[in-house]
Symmetry: C2
């Protein structure tokens, strides 16, 4: 970053604010390939933190990683009727396997002789290739459950893309499990929803509603789609992760059967679940402000930065070394900025932009008083702390910041969740600048759901888990309803 230009404020233009943060915090860029992004080092470092923690949580719940092919034979997609409707529409199709020099010397062209017998699809999701493989791996109940996860890139040819939130290629993990019983598969899908929710809340400091999708919003091929839904600062919802109970649909499509303990053949039960680099978009939009990115401490690649004021000196270096050693001993990641070419004020703005949770300024005058200045990124509060107590103070401060970010987001969501009982109120809430979640009765039909979407752009984000059963009347049709569901405009 050569010159720090102030970013667009949220109030001025929320979309532009988001893009400004992604670009100016050095997280990602558009690429030469339509809809595909370049994840820059600072963005990828965030993804590595997310990956590392999720991978640990997957392994702690008994899963192992594997890797399946990038390509899916075209015919595989057609095997599951709903799946093909959902994913064949916009995908990258490989038709040839060779280029040749153009006869006119203008470059290279596709070699027409190298046409594939069957086209290959770049995976938009891997159920089909994986269940084709599972057929070879599963014979008996002894082979079950199979609890496998894959970290991979996938491609969906989206027409309107936005960095991290919706890109043609994105990085994700996809879990694909196989079970002997329906109950076990349902329990697995619920467990993974809870793993995602725990990760979102405890690490991303992003509160989420755990719920189920309506039939209309389900994954193509699923019998039940569980979701975690977060609320962004513009009052729009973000689907942050989904976990699907797939029933026996893919086992049936790929003929995957097992011999049960009574030596009888049965179809296998399945789940799949995934989160993606979209989480980075959610993290940005949950916590960041008009000064730039705000990263919750548990996911910050650099948790603390030390800035010498106005520039490095032996005295400052001595104190910094002590603080660094004490912080590292407590497992805190810390960077000491020794760049001589930039002034402290510039550095302060830069680290604010990049979202480093805690900044320690060490200056000559402060040192004479035996203190350093500790600034927290979330509230921007600054405190003078005695040199000896800095490490302990910072460890506590990181915890406070993590909790404060979560609590602030939780309060925001509470403030922007409205219960309504008639359609005028429903529309009025959704017309506000920050509409948020709207809790309302719905008659349970896809028809009403689509009509409401058409009229208000709001969709049913989920039917919350453990939803209170409460008799009422559909907000649109007045037909009877047994529980409220959560509506919102969404990303």
């Amino acid at each position: 970053m050569s010159k720090s230009k102030v970013i667009t404020s949220r109030e001025e233009d929320y979309s532009q604010w988001y893009i400004d943060i992604v670009k100016k915090a050095g997280l990602a860029d558009n690429s030469a390939v339509r809809g595909c992004m370049v994840i820059k080092p600072k963005g990828f470092a965030l993804w590595e933190k997310i990956q590392g923690q999720l991978d640990k949580m997957f392994k702690d719940t008994g899963h192992v990683n594997a890797y399946f092919p990038l390509f899916i034979p075209k015919s595989f997609l057609s095997r599951e009727a709903e799946h093909v409707e959902g994913f064949a529409k916009e995908c990258a199709v490989v038709t040839h396997h060779r280029l040749m020099n153009a006869p006119d010397g203008s470059g290279v062209v596709v070699d027409p002789k190298a046409k594939l017998e069957e086209e290959l699809i770049v995976r938009p999701t891997s159920e089909t290739i994986i269940w084709h493989t599972y057929k070879d791996w599963i014979n008996s109940y002894r082979d079950l459950p199979l609890l496998i996860n894959q970290w991979a890139n996938v491609v969906r040819w989206e027409m309107r893309t936005r960095l991290f939130l919706r890109t043609a290629e994105f990085l994700w993990q996809e879990g694909h499990t196989a079970h002997a019983t329906k109950e076990e598969a349902i329990a697995e899908a619920r467990q993974m929803q809870e793993v995602y929710a725990t990760f979102a809340e405890e690490y991303m400091a992003m509160p989420v509603i755990r719920g189920a999708k309506t039939a209309n919003e389900r994954f193509a091929g699923a019998e039940d789609t569980l979701t975690i839904e977060a609320l962004m600062q513009d009052g729009k919802a973000l689907q942050a992760g989904t976990s699907h109970f797939l029933g026996q649909n893919f086992a049936r499509a790929f003929d995957v059967k097992f011999l049960n303990e009574n030596n009888k053949e049965e179809l296998v039960w399945a789940t799949s679940w995934g989160v993606s680099t979209r989480l980075i978009g959610g993290l940005i939009m949950t916590h960041s402000d008009d000064s730039g990115l705000v990263i919750p401490p548990k996911l910050a690649p650099t948790q603390v930065v030390i800035v010498p004021i106005p520039k490095p000196s032996p005295e400052i270096g001595e104190v910094a070394d002590k603080v660094i050693a004490a912080l590292k001993a407590k497992g805190v990641s810390v960077k000491f900025d020794l760049d001589l070419k930039k002034r402290p004020g510039f550095k302060f703005a830069q680290y604010e932009m990049e979202g480093v949770p805690v900044r320690i300024g060490i200056g000559k005058r402060d040192l004479e008083k035996g203190v350093v200045e500790v600034a927290r990124r979330d509230t921007k509060e600054k405190t003078s702390i005695p040199v000896d107590g800095v490490a302990e103070h910072v460890v506590q401060l990181l915890e406070d910041i993590q909790n404060n970010l979560f609590q602030t987001a939780l309060d925001f969501r509470a403030k922007h969740t409205t219960s309504v009982d008639n359609f005028d109120d429903f529309k009025a809430v959704l017309k506000q600048d920050t509409p948020g979640f709207v809790s309302a009765h719905w008659d349970g039909t896809a028809e009403t759901e689509l009509k409401i979407k058409e009229l208000t752009k709001a969709t049913i984000r989920c039917i919350p888990n453990d939803n209170e059963q409460e008799a009422g009347e559909c907000v649109l049709t007045g037909k009877p309803s047994k529980e409220r569901v959560l509506f919102a405009k969404a990303y």
Copy 2:
């Protein structure tokens, strides 16, 4: 694995032995997609160990990770003349972005209306898309060096594939660095060759020759290709990793210039370097035997397995728990096999097949004597060890195994490296069952190199670093030569 069938011996059929190990140790399988493999959980766990250590070594040498698009616009490949010759030949070409229902209801077909304006190539390597991006990132000497690595999948449409060694899609890392000076770029390429060599020798226990490729064997677009070459048990060489000094070729092709300290514009200097899942093939063929896989302890996902004999009991459990706690405290990964459905003999064979470095058998009789049986996978030696000293013994044993595997491979290479001074001897060595490396004089011409390949199938694996300068005569043409080079048949 339901029944353990003995694998083919190396003597009987080396290629089949290799495939048997890959499949029966559960490392990988062929897939429904031509030339693409499925990396199974046990194979992927090995890759995770390899990744983890390499990633640490890359970061320790100042590199950061990023992620660039899977797709490369076709025209990018043509920008660097040699590069396109090397990589346009066999690649996966995306021509369309949509499928549609077949008019005859037979499934899905490519939608002819969704033809891309410019075809996209699935990356066979990422120099072109990355240097296109670097143009935006590099303006001044202050932006240099850029030290970036990417973990990714790549696709090269190979005609003859073999699990791990050569597959159409494979996983790898590719480092792409940008520098202000030629000297710095050369130093970077050498540093990464040394990182690879250190990893191969200290972690994989696989001795390698560090050297440079001849012009003929260079990476397409490189000015110098450094390599590490290992020797497999069948006497064939394996190129295990390469590091390229790319000169200013890609900077020129993508117009990447920087302002130097004197405010003058210059082209940027480049390197790239990569290792892939091929390393797993090298690891297998360096150490494994006719009982199965042998994994060096430093890369073993499970370093120690404890087998109760004949089955679990409270007494055995008590001792096992103590041993497990002591081993874990020393950072050793350990598995306690409580499976009641399999007998000890079956388990022993299974863990031998899977290459677990150390097996501890705990039986009632041994416990009466206060000992357990410790077996090492490499030599299959078994020792009775007093319960109290097991953890310490095992830690030392793991180190011994690591060293023994390296030394055995080093001895093997020494035994199968032959210096020859005439072409009859040259041919005779290469006709042996286990030909190995042949050190011979060469006149320095591509013509002679190709002629020797045609006559013997041997290629120049490398000109070793710090090669002794020794006048001689080319083994084929008798023309003067100033140093020996290493020939071998190769994978």
